[in-house]
Amino acid sequence: MRRSALPPDSLMSAPGAAPEILRITNAIADLSRLYPWFEDAAAKLGLPKPLVQKMQVVAEEAVMNVAMHAYAPGSEDKIEVRLSASQAIAELVVEDCGPAFDPLAVTEQPRPASLAEAKVGGLGLNLLKRFCPDISYARLNGRNQLRLRFPLESPAAHV
């Protein structure tokens, strides 16, 4: 049984107003909607462009991880992506109903010594952890929830 409602804690801790939400399957046509949706959602929330680029790198990695590893090709299961912002934080949440997977529990891949040794898969998780300063994972109601938070620099921070 799968619950379609948002897990209770997201209502408590999502910053700011109602989040922008995208629900897609792992079909290529659906996955290709991630970027146009993100641009639109980030513009509505007024997020600064350099941060948007960084968040998109992280969003692609988190979503493609689910698309390639959690769901079988042709699956009807949805990946839910939510973007919200308060004055201090922009938050990206990626949820899926695949098998429990905590990317934070994966040991960081050592930097490969040669290209021949490079494992393409592990590098993306390194990227995720280095680009996002605040990542948390929870398994809620049979769903994986990856919460990625980015501080927003206020103008006062530059004084």
């Binding site: 692609e60 021949a116 490079a118 393409v120 590098l123 390194n126």
Partner: protein
């Protein structure tokens, strides 16, 4: 098309990638990059016209680079923009495929005689 493959003198291949290499862009370059990986040995990948790239685009470049190097070939990256360079260096790919800012130096580095 966000990718152009030019065969230069001296057995060098220059691959010019442009635009946003997001999920759709990565799908566009995947097949051409795998052809480059399978058929060329001395390759410069010009990234100066790429505005955005994340891990799928990087994956395509790494897979192609692996194929080239497994045949004893050489590959170099040319002039990524700062945001793209950050993705490359954060993932450590620059330690495997060198980044050059000068085209002549990149070509010299991958040339068969070097």
């Amino acid at each position: 098309m966000p990718i152009v493959i030019e065969d230069l003198a001296g057995g060098i291949t220059k691959v010019v990638i442009t635009g946003r290499i997001d999920i759709a862009g990565a799908a566009d370059i995947d097949m051409p990059m795998s052809i480059v990986g399978g058929s060329r040995r001395n390759v410069v990948i010009d990234l100066s016209g790429v505005d955005f790239m994340a891990s799928l685009g990087l994956r395509s470049i790494v897979l192609s680079g692996k194929a080239i190097m497994s045949k004893g070939g050489k590959v170099a990256l040319l002039s990524p923009q700062p945001a793209v360079e950050e993705v490359i260096t954060t993932s450590g790919i620059d330690e495997l495929i060198a980044i050059y800012t000068d085209e002549a130096a990149a070509i010299a580095a991958v040339s068969p005689a070097a």
